[in-house]
């Protein structure tokens, strides 16, 4: 686990995929981050990696209210698999489903890795990957 940056009210930490459930549980139980505001992925074809980022916030602790903790992890592009955080933060359920179809990251343990926003007959590569090009641009 390493801290990527500390800005006012924003902290970003990066962990290995194997540790993420443990770290998230620690953040929830000991630090008071009780929900995820957003969860999304970023594709980095240069590093051949996909970064998954969870923005965690706190409703319970008033001193943490303005803070957002970004918990990130990276996985390879070819076999993008990550453990799900749905058992730690219930609120990531739809965000992870969206990430699955937009970036092709399979969340192990997530009850529903299936279509959410895209049409049922979508048969292309996941659209938010960088090698998916919009036509005409």
């Amino acid at each position: 686990m390493n801290v990527v940056f500390i800005k006012p009210l924003r902290i970003k930490i990066r962990v290995e995929p194997g540790d993420i459930v443990e770290v998230a549980t620690f953040l929830r139980d000991k630090m008071g981050f009780d929900h995820a505001e957003s969860a999304g992925g970023t594709d980095y074809p240069k590093d051949n990696q996909i970064e998954m980022i969870y923005h965690l916030g706190s409703y319970g602790r008033e001193d943490l209210a303005p803070h957002i903790l970004a918990l990130t992890t990276r996985t390879s592009r070819e076999d993008a698999r990550l453990p799900t955080l749905i058992n730690v933060f219930k609120s990531v359920e739809y965000h992870e489903r969206e990430t699955f179809e937009m970036l092709g990251v399979y969340f192990e343990g997530h009850p529903r890795n299936d279509r959410f926003l895209l049409p049922e007959d979508w048969a292309d590569i996941p659209p938010l990957r960088k090698d998916f090009k919009i036509k005409g641009r």
Binding site: H35, E37, G40, A65, K90, S91, F116
Partner: protein
């Protein structure tokens, strides 16, 4: 393990005798949307046993347009007109946090007068959105007068915004570096006059709608979302505040001029449909006070827009900024790689987060409560799909 799972089990128990596979033919599957008058651009499948809903599966995506991908192909200024499309009724707020994030990345400071005008436009737009939402809530419960009045009063604010920004709904007004233009002459008096009028109107809303015994009967103790569940599901905005958590980004993480203003975070403790429908009204009332304060404190003259080259770009980095929109926290996570175009834009919208509460609240309710619960979640289908 927790109250949320307990509640889900409990509500399942209500229909537990029915959910058994062998008796599945008792259930009737209803597809609510996308052509159902009570859904919007959205579909959710429900199964009913008699009058009780025993299963609910939301299926958004009918108006998905790939805003996040589109952002990667345009430079930061060109992104403004299409980013406001998901919520054209709240377009100043959805571009507000985008501008904040870009300003953080590029490293520019908005002039003080610009900050005030931004806040005024954002508050006016919150009224427009909330009135639209309230109108739909009225017609969902069969109250046609409550559909017409907020729609009519909304015109007042649209006229104000038209005078300020030049467009009626899609304003394209907030841009990185400030706002597009200064306030026109006489705007202040007009604004105060209309807000005074609107404050009187809100009393009428209470008389005819909120204090109506039939409305109370339909919404009180219906679809209760407890405080713990609200925090766990990560809902936001009025849904969260109705459940007893006084969390408002304007107070929690004040952006621009909001830390100089004197206002309260309105919340209720019951967490039922009534609270969820009443908190927006309280918000509108508070918003009127905020607009008056902003008009009082605004500097008499000054720049409204920082000088910026046509293709602003900053050092590589990332930013996550959020504002309180009509539907709750609206955050932008923007990654920049040093080019004029954003590398990745992730929009975290309130509607998408509140959608998670829908299956939990609907299961165990009556079919007649479906529109009341659904629309009380402050859900805007187009915004959730992005």
């Amino acid at each position: 393990m927790s109250s949320l799972e307990d509640k889900f089990e409990e509500s399942k128990k209500l229909g537990l005798q029915i959910v058994k596979e062998s008796e599945d033919d008792r259930l009737m599957t209803l597809s609510v949307g996308p052509q159902h008058p009570g859904s919007g651009h959205f579909r959710f499948t429900i199964k009913v046993d008699g009058d009780y809903i025993v299963y609910c599966d939301p299926d958004p995506g009918y108006v998905h347009r790939g805003e996040e991908k589109m952002c990667e192909y345009r430079n930061v200024i060109q992104n403004i007109p299409h980013l406001e499309r998901p919520v054209i009724h709240d377009s100043n707020n959805i571009t507000y946090s985008y501008s904040l994030a870009i300003e953080e990345l590029v490293g520019i400071e908005v002039p003080r007068r610009g900050q005030f005008i931004r806040a005024i436009a954002s508050e006016l737009n919150r009224q427009v959105y909330t009135l639209y939402w309230l109108a739909i809530y009225g017609i969902f419960l069969g109250h046609s007068t409550m559909f017409m009045w907020p729609m009519g009063d909304r015109e007042l604010f649209i006229d104000l915004l038209e005078a300020l920004t030049g467009a009626r709904v899609t304003h394209a007004f907030n841009i990185p570096g400030g706002v597009r233009n200064d306030m026109p002459e006489g705007f202040r008096d007009r604004c105060i006059r209309q807000i005074r009028y609107f404050e009187k109107r809100m009393k009428e809303y209470e008389d005819i709608f909120y204090n109506n015994p039939l409305f109370r009967q339909r919404t009180e103790q219906v679809g209760v979302l407890s405080k713990e569940d609200a925090a766990k599901l990560g809902v936001t905005g009025s849904v969260l505040r109705a459940s007893g958590i006084p969390y408002d980004i304007r107070k929690a993480e004040p952006y621009d001029v909001y830390n100089e203003l004197d206002f309260k975070v309105q919340y209720m403790k019951t967490g039922d449909c009534f609270a969820r429908s009443y908190v927006p009204l309280l918000d509108m009332r508070e918003s009127c006070h905020i607009i008056e304060q902003l008009l009082d404190k605004i500097p008499q003259s000054g720049e409204v827009r920082a000088k910026l080259q046509p293709n602003p770009k900053g050092p590589p980095g990332e930013a996550y900024r959020r504002v309180e929109s009509g539907r709750g926290a609206l955050g932008y996570y923007i990654v920049s790689d040093g080019t004029p175009r954003p590398y990745r834009v992730k929009i975290s919208v309130g509607s998408f987060r509140n959608l998670l509460a829908l299956p939990y609240l609907l299961v165990g309710q009556r079919l007649a409560d479906m529109p009341a619960v659904y629309w009380s979640l402050n859900y805007w289908p187009v915004e959730a799909d992005r």
